[in-house]
Symmetry: C2
């Protein structure tokens, strides 16, 4: 029997992983990776850090951990895998089991026969239907070529002002990349009313919004880009770099017209998400989902069992909702690559699906998430309840402690945990907590599983009752009706921004903390410290709805229990307390703002 | 019906938690906490940081996150819970449902009637049977009183040299506390041949050992303390502080005789672990396990259903082994306290058990662990395999990356993950990974669950294929026979320390990395870079056992696959590679050392 011939279309993340795994299991396999680009096997998620300058060269994104470049020669020598760059797959002939390819350098075409085929064609950036989106130089940063072009333009001193269209993960990362190290005046335009729409809960998104603004990013939420135009009267003087000229239309400047005013900029980056690059699969008659993603089974076979697909071009199962989902992540691509490699070698490995974990660094804050948000859960038909807690990431008496803003999504009916999201300054601590929740999500954890989740305790690293456990406990209290929550954004709407509301805020913190608020909000903001509440119960008004407030939601919960005992039940507890209001900037917004 | 009377014996961690939870659920309950100490409700695990000076006062260990002191008055005002300090429980009269107590201040005795009783008597430090262990001033640091005395002595400039007996968690933390900020010459004496014996795997313990030595701690492993004596010719001059004199026997200096020489010191701290403080329970006829720990059910009831017990005085179920275990941890005490509080109020909450998670900071390194070590697993009858990997804690191209040394314990027979341990400089990153494993351990995870555990990916926080996933993949490769491992300590024994062994080390790193080793070990250390191995196969000796080496174990695994293909199968892969050998100091130890 001759060696198994395997052709892999796509050489960024999944392709090389599948190839190398296969070769370790079946060294005689004959494996070729083709990619239309000249760059292969790079860390695409590192692009924002390359642009920011944290990573100095693209070579670092293409190097192994032992500092070798993952070039075609490296794959040949170290892995016995052939790589053909600048080679485009034109069509798959399933009956003939061959792939028609075009050599982009020579222009020659040929057929590559296969016994097994892997489609790892990844994603392509969405292009919103905006006039001018195709102007030369209006660009995404979806691959190394575009990233290099953008960085060349920036480092050449050609960019004073930039507009980023879309405040999703890449948009926010790029805002940091441009603003932080390069000092570029950066505008982030988002059609939705929040940053990270669809993937982050509103309360936590408010914290990120405030942080971006604090860092000088010009945020334009709820604004649609209507048109992008080359700015008259033409490019500024001094543009003579022909490479830039070719890429950026003469180094031109742009006018970005939005639904609320125009912004002039030297650089326009689109970051409107990506979609599966599945045209090749579709043309070959493989099953493709309505989302455009290739349909695969758990062994990552397409509707043609001799063709595998994985990475950013496939649809997978969401392990929380049970629904198919398009969730492009370099990490999942790597794990899927190994599964495909095993199966190419005759194994029976499975990829069960995703719990939807992601992490983003945005300036000095980290955001991490797993499972689904309360908003998504409601859409999926769950009786979803958001549970927000704020607590130190280590023992509150340990000097380096900082707050984590942590939210669970809980299903009221089944008391199941559906997801968790967190924001905080200490990224590893934030992400560590989310990873712990992510680990149990496939097992459909109950509230009690989270209340007793065994976070390793030592004062430098955790609280005795960690923020994760506190969130579980709070969820139980809320579902049991002991803690009646009010979300921070609801508090902002019905109290901070509505002076005519007849709610009263009862602040149970110490007088020193409460004083500035009492001064600002007058007799709408009452201060009775929690430890004095039992003996001052007669001072509590019984004819108003009381919004209970402390710094985090913990003492105000205690106060709610005391008030209930005293027969004062028209109360709600503001989740996350003043900590969230301050961090999201709500505490400094007023009705007239 | 009159209010339910609840007496809680012990006011450090579990007692107050149970009391406060009960009061929130059943505000009319009549709750009293008694404690023989004057200090209550403090973070006992913070003691080493108080002694080091990281935490400046004991008040911080007793304060809430909102900076109130948890005094008896605080519990009265804020929680409606009575606390009686300096009140010792003498006996429990189960038939009469009352507790006989002694007021240590007045000397008066009285009976406290109860409807429900909670035993939260905690632990007492083990006192090894060493002559002189009872000398005044030879002390543990098991409570605030002893901690204050030790810190007073240190800050009074009375301690130049200290001996710590026992290199467990507290012993190592104290070594840091004394050495790091105070610059005290610190000797750590341990009867076993490794630090953190019984709780940390040998390979990782070697890393901690090297780090302690690097930080100037004088380690005496494998040495038994035979006697502690007051050092003749008597205490040094200038000791006139009567408080110190009372506590430390005249500020005396000690001679610690060990099985291999004597050490003179101004301070001797015993850190030989703790045992359950269960005498009161035993005397009352409650069921006590052979370990001395009180036996409880999952609702944390003792053999008398009206008496609950929790915290450091009980035995719980180990969720990995299924066996009962004594695992005293402040974090578990807090979680159990809430369960007891719920059940006191008529609920039916359960505490299922522990997966055995812990974390320790030792100078610049963090250690974290969950489940059981390979050594423990073998004792429990598992067919345990250690799986050691070394990988960056974030994308290897991200500037702030650092290595995590990560080990899984895997059962060969069931392919179940039994535990994980990790060491690294970035504590939050290390502990976050262990917490993710801990979260799934109760669900008896398979290797595949770990290979695909969804660590949230972003270059600043994780690798695309995270160290956790890499460990799962390596476990699979080992159990499938593709990767034949050799543990680092075995390599040290049979190669580094045995020059006559006829093994050959085949180093597949680049020449620059390998050169110093080739120079040192001569023709026993052969260098053929992995990417050149296929074309240099004829240089590989076929008559020797080959120990494959790279920097982490990854390229050497690749080489093993290549060698197998070439028919050279007498090879093993040194786990963790040069990274572990260097970090544990093995690479610089020689046969003649």
């Amino acid at each position: 029997m001759s060696a198994k011939r395997v052709v892999i279309i796509g050489g960024v993340a999944l392709g090389p992983k599948a190839a190398c795994r296969l070769k370790r299991l079946e060294p005689d396999a004959d494996v070729v990776i083709i990619d239309q680009d000249q760059y292969i096997s790079y860390g695409g998620c590192g692009i924002p850090y390359f642009i920011s300058g944290d990573i100095s060269s693209v070579q670092e994104l293409m190097s192994t951990s032992f500092h070798m470049q993952r070039t075609p020669e490296f794959f040949q020598d170290a892995k016995d895998v052939r790589v053909r760059t600048r080679t485009r797959a034109l069509a798959i002939d399933r009956a003939g089991k061959k792939v028609r390819v075009l050599d982009l350098t020579s222009g020659g075409e040929e057929d590559l026969p296969y016994d097994r085929l892997v489609i790892a064609t990844g994603s392509i950036p969405n292009k919103p239907p905006i006039p001018g989106i195709d102007l030369p130089g209006v660009t995404s940063v979806s691959d190394l070529n575009s990233a290099i072009a953008v960085k060349d333009k920036i480092s050449g001193g050609k960019v004073n002002t930039a507009v980023i269209v879309g405040a999703g993960a890449i948009g926010c990362e790029m805002a940091e990349a441009l603003g932080d190290l390069w000092g570029i005046e950066t505008h982030l335009v988002e059609i939705e009313q929040q940053v990270l729409p669809g993937i982050l809960d509103r309360s936590l998104a408010g914290i990120i919004r405030a942080h971006l603004e604090e860092k000088g990013v010009q945020l334009h939420l709820g604004r649609r880009v209507i048109e992008i135009r080359a700015w008259e009267p033409g490019p500024p003087a001094g543009i003579d770099d022909t490479r830039l000229a070719a890429t950026f239309g003469g180094g031109g400047c742009y006018e970005v017209k939005t639904s609320d005013g125009s912004i002039r900029a030297d650089l326009v980056i689109t970051a409107a998400g990506v979609r599966p690059n599945s045209e090749l699969a579709r043309s070959a008659g493989l099953l493709v989902a309505p989302s455009g993603a290739i349909v695969v089974n758990r062994m990552l076979q397409t509707s043609d069992p001799e063709i595998y697909a994985g990475g950013d071009c496939i649809e997978i199962q969401h392990l929380v909702t049970g629904n198919p989902v398009y969730f492009p992540q370099g990490s999942l691509a790597n794990r899927q690559g190994r599964v495909i490699g095993t199966n190419l070698a005759g194994g029976a490995a499975e990829f069960a699906g995703t719990v939807g974990s992601f992490a983003i660094k945005i300036f000095d804050l980290a955001v991490a998430s797993t499972g689904i948000t309360p908003q998504s859960a409601l859409k999926c038909g769950f009786d979803a309840e958001p549970v927000l807690v704020v607590q130190a990431d280590r023992a509150h008496f340990y000097p380096t402690q900082d707050l984590i803003y942590f939210q669970l999504t809980v299903d009221r009916k089944t008391r199941r945990i559906l997801g968790a999201q967190a924001v905080g300054a200490n990224g590893d601590a934030v992400i560590g907590r989310i990873n712990a929740i992510a680990a149990v999500l496939p097992f459909k954890p109950s509230i009690e599983d989270i209340s007793n989740l065994e976070i390793a305790y030592s004062p430098p690293f955790a609280s005795a009752l960690d923020v994760v456990n506190a969130a579980g406990n709070t969820a139980e209290n809320i579902l049991d009706g002991l803690n009646r929550p009010m979300q921070p954004d609801e508090f902002e709407r019905c109290f901070l921004l509505d002076e005519s509301s007849d709610c009263l805020c009862l602040d149970v913190r110490g007088p020193a903390n409460a004083a500035p608020f009492v001064e600002r909000y007058g007799d709408r903001w009452l201060n009775i410290p929690q430890e004095t509440l039992n003996r001052r119960m007669e001072e509590v008004p019984r004819d108003k709805r009381l919004l209970l407030m402390c710094n985090s939601g913990v003492r105000s919960y205690e106060a709610m229990r005391q008030l209930d005992r005293a027969g004062i039940g028209n109360t709600v507890n503001v989740q996350g307390g003043v900590a969230v209001l301050k961090k999201s900037g709500a505490a400094s917004r007023r009705a007239q703002d």
